[in-house]
């Protein structure tokens, strides 16, 4: 698709063609590795994602799935390279921490298919065997914000982010715009827990926000979310939780509005299927939005949101999908 890259890709493509002939042979087993930039069990969405990938690997005889953590800067490249040398056909890495290492290894192993999740690689066109997956963080967070604004009685809501980083701030941006879209007068607070593993902090933060009068709290803060949920579940007054990626039915018991989920496993599986089907496209950023089925806004199964509001939220969803609503990436305030 990128004319500039065609010159360079040609020789590689020939090689790939050669391997692909082998690959497409029936009975070919694809060795696939997913390299996580975070400890998998620290983040529930990551745990779910890995579970999804493992299930996929078990269900498909031609896929052998391997999950590796490369969390510290000093293991990024060594681990990715070790996988490449270990005969893996497809290697998927994650986020910008892995970007440089992935590029370096991809350059050295042109026969291997690389994918990387959301890494902001500028010169992706130079890497014909690498595809980047872009994540839409706006659509479902906007809807989460809109739902929160509909449900708030005190007109005060809050969002707890795990860290003051771009990935989280994009979510916050969409959440705030969703709030504003429904109720321009709403008062919203942004707090950062500065940890993804400490439920105690999450809990105390939520308690202090509740005592300030917030009655809907959204949180994207990893392991600390459980603490947030507990604070809300224990709250003597009505308070709701806006979930991200995960559902907390057990803790919240009817106080979860819904969850803005991203199915990163689906995204990776799509990539794997593209490759095995010989439809790999390298050197590009492929964007995964709601239309691909990898991001969605799901109401909780025991959601307190009334039917009419649910309907209104779905209308907003349609407006986003048909482009009536544009979602900015910058938070309105922090």
């Amino acid at each position: 698709s990128k004319p500039a890259a065609t010159n360079e890709t040609e020789p590689t493509e020939q090689k790939q063609a050669g391997t692909q002939a082998n690959n497409s042979a029936p009975g070919k087993v694809w060795k696939v590795a997913y390299v996580s930039a975070y400890a998998i069990d620290e983040l529930q969405w990551l745990t779910d994602m890995v579970a999804g990938l493992n299930t996929y690997g078990e269900e498909h005889d031609n896929i052998e799935m391997k999950i590796v953590e490369a969390v510290n800067a000093n293991e990024y490249e060594p681990k990715i390279r070790a996988l490449a040398e270990g005969g893996y056909d497809i290697i998927i890495t994650s986020f910008n921490g892995h970007a440089d290492a992935t590029k370096a290894v991809a350059k050295d192993f042109p026969d291997i298919y690389f994918g990387i999740i959301d890494a902001k690689i500028q010169d992706i066109a130079d890497y014909p065997n690498l595809q980047e997956f872009g994540i839409d963080r706006g659509y479902n967070s906007f809807l989460a914000g809109a739902t929160a604004a509909y449900m708030s009685k005190s007109n005060k809501v809050a969002f707890i982010g795990g860290a003051d980083i771009e990935a989280v701030n994009q979510i916050i941006a969409a959440w705030q715009q969703g709030l504003q879209y429904v109720n321009p007068d709403i008062e919203d607070t942004v707090a950062y827990s500065d940890t993804f593993v400490d439920p105690t902090i999450g809990r105390e933060l939520a308690l202090s926000l509740l005592s300030k009068g917030c009655d809907v709290i959204g949180a994207s803060t990893g392991g600390a979310e459980a603490g947030v949920c507990q604070a809300i579940a224990e709250s003597p007054t009505d308070a709701y939780y806006a979930a991200y990626d995960v559902h907390y039915y057990d803790i919240l018991k009817g106080r979860e509005l819904g969850s803005a989920v991203s199915y990163l496993d689906k995204m990776v599986i799509m990539f794997i299927e593209d490759v095995t089907a010989g439809k790999f496209e390298g050197g590009i950023l492929k964007f995964f939005g709601p239309e691909m089925g990898t991001v969605a806004y799901e109401f909780a199964k025991d959601t307190p949101v009334p039917e009419d509001i649910q309907k209104k939220v779905m209308e907003i969803s349609d407006k986003i999908l048909n482009g009536e609503i544009e979602i900015g990436l910058e938070p309105l305030h922090k």
């Binding site: 800067a73 000093n74 070790a82 910008n96 921490g97 902001k120 980083i165």
Partner: protein, 343 residues
Amino acid sequence: MKEKVLSIISPIIAIFLALIVVGVVVICSDQNPLEAYAALLKGSFGSVSNFMSTVRYTIPILLLAISFSICERGGYFNIGQEGQMFMAALTAVAVNDSLRELPKPLLLLVTIMAGVLVSAIISVIPAVLKFYFGINEAILLVMMNYIIELLVTYLMLYSRLADSQAAAMPKSIPLSVSISAPVLYIFTIFIFIGFTAVMKYSVLGYRIRITGKNAAFAKACGIPAARTFLSSALIGGGIAGVAGLFEVLGIYHVMFSNFAIGMGFMGITAALLGRHSPLGMMLGSLVLGALQSGSVMLSTITDVSPEIVQVVQGFVMFFATVSFLYVWKKKKSHLRKSGRNPL
């Protein structure tokens, strides 16, 4: 006699204990422990490239061990190495960014010098407070580590030095100069030899040793104790800075906001494993380096889960401590025969 038998037997017991515990843990996860041990060994020494990766991990550990050891011998418990590494790297990024126009070799030199200078200063401030005001340096250094870590994260997100592309992992803009691997190795060897020579043969090393062991005596003999103490802190901090610079300039070519975390512990461990003898520290660093590169293999070529890798690492560390001590003890017992044993 009983002592002696015990001192030989106990490390052997400890080794077996470690092997068995690790084995049981690995078996519990339905894996073959022998396979895990083989992977660890293969990953660290199995091939030239694996060995090179061991070397790559050994270098910063060795530098940090040297840094810790110099300070410790001068009587300064330098556990602020992570902060010093961060500050060196941060300075390098800042200097590199603001002097981009300079010719490359000069820029590299200035970058390194600035980084080393800042880390040395960062290390010497608590030393001054300790020497002149008697404040416990450990607490100062720990707190400074925390503060610097937060500061670095902040700057890697919001300053001119932040990589505007960063999404999840705060990191800096790329550096425009770098050090190649061979140069890095040569420099490390150079520092190691320098360290050995200084500590064993130089006047400064002598003064550091004496001051560290007995500052009152050093003062009474006319050794400039303050100057000596502060220079050990200064040199130690500088070398910690070098470790940070090597990581950033030689390996990543960019600064991650968490790149130094946990490395200080490694250096201290290596120094303690080697009991501050240069060769011992080299061996200690090699063991820890091998453990790191071995665990890369462990997690990529075996089916051992990521959770297990950490457990194995922990237990092997146990194991290394005890066995090293044994070697050290044997060497020491020759000396002990003529030494006075308090009680």
